[in-house]
């Protein structure tokens, strides 16, 4: 059988225009060709073995690309391997021309944004798009600080910030829009002051509320882009799902210790967070950012990239991280960009989506936040109860399951140190006749420790320190004064 190879594909077939092969069906001919020209395999098929989008297989002048036609006997005709040449121009911007034309820049704005107006890609058109845009930022923490700061400086027209928390002293290590005098204030109030001080013409909206399944849609409806600066999986999936269902693009950012990641999801039917991470890591495996820590400038780097991507997305300029994930390792100064493929089986944005409303999805269970009903509940002491037992010198074994670098910050006196990974092996060190209390930073890993020992068959009484060492900080012992 004669096979004609289009000149666009010939490089992978020894530059031959016509190849004589054995075989009587398309499948047989293709097998023959890929055996003869091994290079051709990677141009014809992707890693999963599917025919690439740009390949067309014709028999005579009839398109036979569909696989069900590959087993039909072909006689006396010519097979043609042709390219399907297609493409399209990028939608210029998520802000329509009509909305751009509705806004005008006044004299002070021309001066303020002069450095933007100088850039050919941005110029007046881009600056007007920024002014016309409406952005929601989830989280006014470390990443949020950088995002809010630069989006405000760049002149975003309307900004909504959602954060349920108040400013604490430990926040000031990285959350640069808050200052010492903001301690104990809601983060959104502090963010509002910051934005107003920078540019009073920005319409600032705040919601001092925790995003939940029943309120998230109302938080983002009618906005152009959502920036995810949160630090927990439940909210991340909630934001992703709401964005996908409402068709709003999302700029995702996350940090952990020295590493950060940025990506854009839900843009023009592109992949979503679930295509990349179908499920959150198992409970207890990965400490939260609050437990894991992060170097101070890292959220500034990652948040600034998020702000930069958001602005490029609004203006429709440059290359953006759509369907890509940028990873930065600030300790070793390495970075990489990972391609995120859209998953056709994705329960949210795939061909047959199972998740069609946010309300009906159980986020607590998905993220392992729900107490397992079959699990024996873990009993615990409040910091006050534990303090009382220590004061009264009741027989008690205290096990500290934190990592060495965490103990270096704050040591718990008289505690036996056993990291979670060694618990099973060192079970003999515990006395099953007296109470054992497990402690960690926030009281979550200690529950995991108790469950681990239970599964290993330990029978003695075990208790968890509720709220962990963090909650113990305010306890003052009568004999020692402030010892923690």
């Amino acid at each position: 059988m004669k096979v004609y190879i289009s000149s666009t594909l010939r490089n992978y077939f020894g530059k031959n225009a016509e190849i004589e092969t054995t075989g009587t069906t398309i499948q047989e001919v293709i097998d023959h060709l890929t055996d003869e020209y091994p290079d051709s395999k990677k141009i014809l098929f992707d890693e999963k073995g599917s025919l690439r989008r740009f390949i067309r297989i014709y028999v005579g002048d009839e398109d036979n690309t569909e696989k069900d036609k590959w087993y039909r006997k072909i006689e006396g005709e010519e097979i043609l391997l042709l390219p399907s040449i297609a493409g399209g121009s990028p939608r210029e911007s998520i802000i329509s021309d009509e909305r751009r034309k509705e806004v005008a820049l006044d004299d002070s704005e021309v001066e303020r944004f002069g450095k933007h107006l100088m850039l050919r890609e941005i110029s007046v058109k881009g600056q007007k798009r920024i002014k016309a845009s409406k952005v929601v930022v989830f989280g006014a923490g470390a990443l949020g600080s950088a995002v809010i700061q630069y989006l405000a400086a760049a002149g975003v027209g309307t900004m909504k910030v959602v954060d349920p928390e108040t400013v604490t002293l430990e926040n000031l290590q990285s959350q640069v829009i808050h200052s010492q005098r903001d301690l104990k204030r809601p983060k959104v109030a502090s963010a509002r002051d910051f934005v107003r001080n920078m540019n009073r013409s920005i319409v600032f909206e705040d919601e001092n509320t925790k995003p939940e399944a029943d309120n998230i849609a109302s938080m983002i409806e009618d906005y152009d882009v959502v920036v995810d600066c949160t630090d927990n999986y439940k909210t991340r999936y909630l934001i992703n799902d709401a964005c996908a269902l409402l068709g709003i693009p999302e700029v995702f950012g996350a940090i952990y210790q020295y590493e950060g990641r940025v990506g854009i999801f839900n843009l023009d039917n592109g992949p979503c967070l679930r295509c990349l991470y179908p499920a959150p890591p198992e409970k207890g495996l990965v400490p939260t950012c609050a437990e894991g820590g992060a170097i101070s400038p890292l959220p500034g780097i990652i948040g600034s990239i998020q702000a930069n991507e958001t602005l490029k997305l609004i203006m429709g300029i440059g290359k953006i991280l759509n369907g890509k994930l940028l990873s930065i390792d600030s300790l070793n100064l390495r970075s990489s960009i990972l391609k995120v493929d859209k998953d056709n089986k994705c329960p949210l944005c795939g061909m047959n989506p199972e998740i069609t409303t946010i309300e009906e999805f159980d986020y607590e269970e998905f993220c392992g936040l729900k107490e397992d009903e079959n699990e024996v509940p873990v009993e615990g002491f409040t910091p006050e109860e534990l303090a009382e037992k220590i004061e009264k010198k009741e027989p008690l074994t205290i096990i500290d399951v934190r990592e060495p670098h965490e103990r270096a910050i704050l040591r718990f006196p008289e505690a036996i140190v056993i990291p979670i990974g060694q618990l099973e092996r060192r079970m003999k060190e515990l006395d099953p006749d007296i109470d054992t209390v497990f402690i960690c930073k926030e009281g979550k890993r200690s529950i995991l420790a108790i469950n681990t020992l239970r599964e290993a068959g330990y029978k003695g009484p075990m208790y968890n320190l509720k709220g962990g060492i963090d909650a113990m900080k305010d306890i003052i012992f009568s004999n020692e004064g402030a010892w923690l």
Binding site: T8, D46, F54, I85, G88, S89
Partner: protein, 146 residues
């Protein structure tokens, strides 16, 4: 192929003018066509304008070239000296950067020239090449020559 390594592409100004003229004529729709020349020398000798057969062509953000058209072009080429070495198309009112659609449909080893046509004027021309199927496309530096 050495010039590809250096990410340089020599583009004849006449060819450039022809492409941008087609881009302006097709505005606000996309124009498309093939580049004909010698890939080993990375030389574009001429271009051949083809019909945009996308049903969505009126939207101005899609193009499809019918495989039958490609065959017609190829059969009329000088056998030894000419071959299709790439594709060009215009982006009406958009940047001359590859869209996601473009990148996903890119044929490795083919040159891609994208023209940005804004308000019926050619604002920018850029060239791209994908060397391997699963690699990202790289941008080539254009040298305009006579």
């Amino acid at each position: 192929m050495t010039e590809i390594m250096e990410n340089n592409l020599n583009l004849n100004i006449d060819i450039c003018m022809k492409m941008s003229f087609q881009g302006k004529m097709a505005y606000p729709e996309e124009c498309c066509g093939v580049l004909i020349g010698d890939m080993d020398e990375l030389k574009i000798d001429k271009i051949c304008s083809l019909e945009n057969s996308s049903e969505q062509s009126k939207r101005g953000d899609r193009f499809i070239i019918d495989p039958g058209e490609i065959i017609n072009v190829e059969k009329n080429l000088e056998k030894d000296t000419e071959s299709i070495i790439g594709i060009y198309h215009s982006h009406p009112d958009a940047e001359a950067v590859l869209s996601r659609e473009d990148e996903e449909n890119m044929i490795p080893g083919m040159l891609y020239i994208v023209l940005s046509i804004v308000d019926e004027k050619c604002r920018n021309i850029r060239a791209y090449l994908k060397t391997e199927p699963d690699k990202e496309a790289t941008s080539l530096k254009l040298n305009y020559v006579r």
